[in-house]
């Protein structure tokens, strides 16, 4: 439970309105022709604060006595997530002969 306020108001209400506004911006950003790069950066730029707002305020990862350790718990899989995204998401099959030069012994001598 929250023991703090945002601008003197109930944090849940403030968080709720913040999320609604951010989502509205998100949808609007797609509706307006801005080009892929800009749209994408807006989408990512909004997803991150939304993510943090829900986790910190609704899920009580901010402001409670146990927030710190539970944040650590929530962040624990980060390493494994990164490994998975890099190893599975960002690789693609290839022939062994395409081994990049920096993996070859000759490159370093």
């Amino acid at each position: 439970m929250a023991h703090y306020t945002i601008f003197g108001k109930d944090p849940y209400w403030m968080n709720f309105w913040g999320l609604m506004i951010l989502t509205a911006i998100e949808v609007a950003a797609v509706g307006v022709e801005l080009g892929d790069t800009i749209t994408m950066s807006i989408l990512i730029g909004i997803a991150i604060p939304k993510f943090i707002m829900i986790a910190a305020i609704f899920m009580h990862l901010y402001g409670d006595a146990d927030s710190k350790i539970l944040t650590m718990t929530a962040l624990f899989p980060a390493f494994f997530i990164i490994v998975m995204v890099f190893f599975i998401g960002l690789t693609s099959p290839g022939s062994a002969t395409e081994l990049p030069a920096w993996c070859r012994p000759g490159y370093w001598t």
Partner: protein, 795 residues
């Protein structure tokens, strides 16, 4: 009240029985035990279409002995062919149980006791090239283009003959499509009665052998359960006292009871997996053997791997974890007892799904790795679909187990037991569950993708639509590599406990043991690519995982040397569990060393998928995990049953088991290097034409098979020992071996709840200074982890 419960139990059992009676429906799937060739072709839908009517003309009502009949096979119904293009109209497969089939013209080919149409994929002249390829696009005769065919059948001298005919009716576009259909008919024709004709001696169908043995094992298990009940209540051997007793076991959430259930399931499937291993070894005993058909062999090695890892090793480990974790950390039970019961009960039902295929004669045949796209290629093969379904349930079970043990070990340790005062077995279960818990979702997702690919037809592994077979390998091995550590790390924990206790020393380098296990836990996630060095994975990743895989040797080495040093200046008390622990050191070291050959790329291109690999992973799975489990059984059985095991039988078990184990797997190293490939239905020795596969292979394989049978039967000594112990063993004291951890504090067997939740035991530490003076790093960590003010947490 009580009658009410009884009534409801009966209702429940009826419902469950009804549910299970659905299982025999597996037999109504296209093919029973006979094999899939009856469908003629696997690409025409999954179930027979009654719109297609097959017929056989020219059969007499009763046949005369050794007479040739010309049969006309035809069908009506099904999709209409493309107008003006008599191409690919249909096909058939005729199987006869006796008599000889002969082709009349080029449209039909004969294969043993089966006749089928000559497809465009065929090779009439037998030169190994498909006729269509040879013809280079020119028209060739294809039995596919007809709707009726002729065959000659020469009747046998006596008996009756069953004709099983499958026909395909297709629309002729050359592609599998929705309105392609097929149907099946069977007709039996009696022959001349010849009273004294000798029954032909039939060789046993290995599948029937397997199914029979499974059923027999199940009945034996039930008998053991009944006998146990008789032992606990000799006066009330009736339903009124049996029902509450069995309901107590079916519904219990007590960690000790659930642990015992895990043992029952684990040992049962260890036996079933063992039976399959024996059948596999019979097949491989001599070159060119055909004891098992190819299909059966493929099912057997698939089910052997799946059963041994997921239905034997994991439940046995979970059995020990269930029993011992609360006892070792001084907790009264696990954190979430009902969830714990749930993770157990998912397993037998998952096993039922996985084995449905065995009973319908069509088990999964994809290997325990289930590589795509083969796993999604034959969607009509229900055994594989249910294999995936059962594994999905096992994933759910492991996830729940993970939550439970992580929460228990994190949150329910007795006062005075910091992280660095936990018994090493508890540490090993903690690390193993953390690995399992974080890796298994990847496989779960992969399985769901496969299950959906096979059922509703998503296209994750549909290569023609751009699906990537390697995605499955990635998802599988992202889980699969941590998984192999999940089954070995608990054995590390067991050996640490057993060796230290037996040597009357505290384990050498407790902290480095913990760090080594944690190191293994982290490294497990970044090495999995070494299973895919030759699989077409991204070359950069192959290189990276080669480097990381080499790293695994370091923490494993630390552990082995620490164990050895633990014995130094100790007083090694030789008991059966000590022997198994020492045996573990030998076999695990050998398995570890052979493991070092694989990350070396230029060697792996030769060794991958050979018997060298088979030898390696059996050395670590059996020589590591199973020996660890045996050691743990002898070590903790007195605690669980309250009775001491027979040491003489134990010694006999160890000697026979250890020797025959090495007899099985040591020669396999050589076979692999010489050119025997894994998962091959059979192997051929040849004359000196092929220098690579020398004649001595035959001797070695026979030797392996004999050793395998010895190993299999040696384990009955353990079973016998356990039964003997329960029946007439000597009463066990609370601490028979002189261990230090909490489980030795309570009586044997422990009471329920194991410890009083309101008055838990307090761990004292012989090294007081460590607890009172955390290092700078420790202080920082403590500040980070602890709430500033404990009371505030309660809001």
């Amino acid at each position: 009240m009580k009658q009410n419960t009884l009534l409801r139990t009966l209702v429940l059992l009826t419902v469950l029985g009804l549910a299970l009676s659905m299982a025999p429906q597996a037999d109504s799937l296209p093919n029973g035990i006979i094999g899939q060739s009856e469908k003629g072709c696997t690409c025409h839908g999954a179930i027979p279409d009654s719109g297609v009517a097959p017929s056989i003309e020219g059969l007499p009502a009763t046949f005369n002995a050794s007479t040739t009949y010309t049969l006309t096979i035809s069908f009506t119904g099904g999709p209409s062919g493309q107008s003006g293009d008599p191409h690919n109209l249909g096909g058939f497969n005729l199987a006869v149980s006796s008599g000889i089939l002969e082709a009349v013209d080029d449209t039909v080919k004969i294969d043993g006791d089966q006749a089928t149409h000559n497809g465009i994929d065929d090779d009439i002249d037998g030169n190994g090239i498909q006729d269509s390829i040879e013809a280079g696009g020119a028209a060739i005769i294809s039995g596919n283009d007809y709707t009726s065919w002729l065959v000659n059948w020469t009747s046998p001298s006596s008996g009756s003959s069953t004709f099983t005919l499958a026909v395909n009716s297709v629309n002729g576009d050359g592609q599998a499509s929705a309105n392609d259909a097929w149907n099946l008919m069977a007709i039996t024709v009696a022959g001349p009665s010849s009273g004294a004709a000798a029954e032909e001696l039939q060789s046993a169908d290995p599948f029937v052998v397997l199914v029979t043995l499974i059923i027999v094992s199940g009945i034996l298990l039930a008998a053991v359960i009944l006998y146990t009940f008789y032992r606990v209540s000799p006066d009330g051997f009736n339903w009124e006292s049996f029902a509450p007793w069995i309901i107590e076991w079916l519904t219990s959430t007590d960690h000790k009871k659930v642990g015992t259930l895990y043992f029952l399931a684990g040992f049962f499937f260890l036996g079933v997996g063992g039976i399959m291993a024996m059948l596999i070894r019979i097949q491989l005993a001599v070159p060119g053997n055909d004891f098992l058909t190819q299909d059966q062999y493929n099912m057997f090695f698939t089910m052997h791997g799946t059963t041994m890892i997921f239905l034997a090793a994991m439940p046995l480990i979970n059995g020990f974890a269930n029993w011992l974790i609360p006892l070792q950390i001084g907790a009264h039970d696990l954190a979430l007892p009902r969830i714990n019961a749930m993770s157990f009960w998912l397993q037998p039902f998952a096993a039922l799904l996985i084995f449905t295929g065995v009973f319908s004669g069509q088990a999964a045949d994809v290997g325990w790795t289930g590589y795509a796209p083969y796993i999604v290629s034959e969607t009509a093969h229900t055994g594989t679909t249910l294999w995936a379904a059962g594994q999905i349930m096992l994933v759910a079970s492991s996830t729940l187990t993970g939550i439970n043990f992580l929460a228990t070990i994190c949150g329910m340790r007795a006062p005075g037991m910091g992280w660095m005062q936990m018994p090493l077995f508890t540490w090993s279960i903690f690390i193993a569950n953390l690995m399992l818990f974080l890796s298994i979702p990847a496989w779960g997702v992969g399985l769901i993708q496969v299950y959906l690919d096979r059922t509703i037809g998503t296209a994750f592994y549909h290569v023609a639509s751009g699906g990537d077979p390697l995605l499955w390998s990635h998802l599988f091995w992202y889980f699969g590599h941590p998984e192999v550590y999940v089954v070995i790390v608990p054995a590390f924990g067991v050996i640490s406990e057993v060796l230290a206790t037996s040597a009357r020393r505290s384990v050498f380098g407790y902290r480095s043991m913990v760090y080594a296990m944690a190191g293994i836990g982290v490294v497990a996630f970044i090495v999995y690519g070494h299973h895919m060095f030759t699989s077409g994975m991204s070359p950069t990743l192959r290189f990276v995982t080669m480097l990381t895989t080499m790293l695994v040797a370091v923490p494993t080495g630390i552990k082995i040397f620490n164990w050895l040093k633990t014995m130094h200046k100790g007083s090694l008390v030789y008991r059966t569990h000590t022997l198994w622990a020492l045996g573990f050191l030998v076999t695990f070291t050998l398995g570890g060393i052979s493991g070092m050959f694989f990350p070396s790329l230029a060697m792996d291109t030769h060794l991958h998928e050979t018997y060298f690999v088979v030898a390696h992973f059996h050395y670590v799975f059996v020589g590591g995990t199973v020996f660890g489990v045996f050691s743990a059984v002898y070590y903790w059985f007195p605690k669980m049953s309250g009775r001491m095991m027979d040491e003489k039988w134990g010694l006999l078990h160890f000697l026979t088991g250890f020797i025959s184990f090495n007899g099985i797997f040591w020669p396999m190293h050589k076979l692999g290097v010489l050119g025997m490939a894994r998962r091959h239905h059979t192997w051929f020795i040849t004359t000196d034409d092929y220098a690579n596969i020398p004649a001595e292979m035959a001797s070695w394989n026979l030797f392996i098979t004999v050793s395998a049978f010895l190993f299999f039967f040696s384990n009955f000594i353990l079973v016998g020992n356990m039964i003997k112990t329960v029946v007439s063993g000597k009463k066990a004291p609370a601490d028979p071996w002189g261990g230090w951890s909490f489980e030795w504090m309570c009586a044997s067997p422990p009471p329920t709840p194991s410890f009083d939740p309101h008055n838990p035991p307090v761990l004292r530490d012989a090294n007081e200074h460590i607890a009172s003076e955390p290092s700078r790093l420790g202080q920082w960590f403590e500040r980070l982890m602890m709430p500033e003010d404990d009371s505030e947490v309660n809001h």
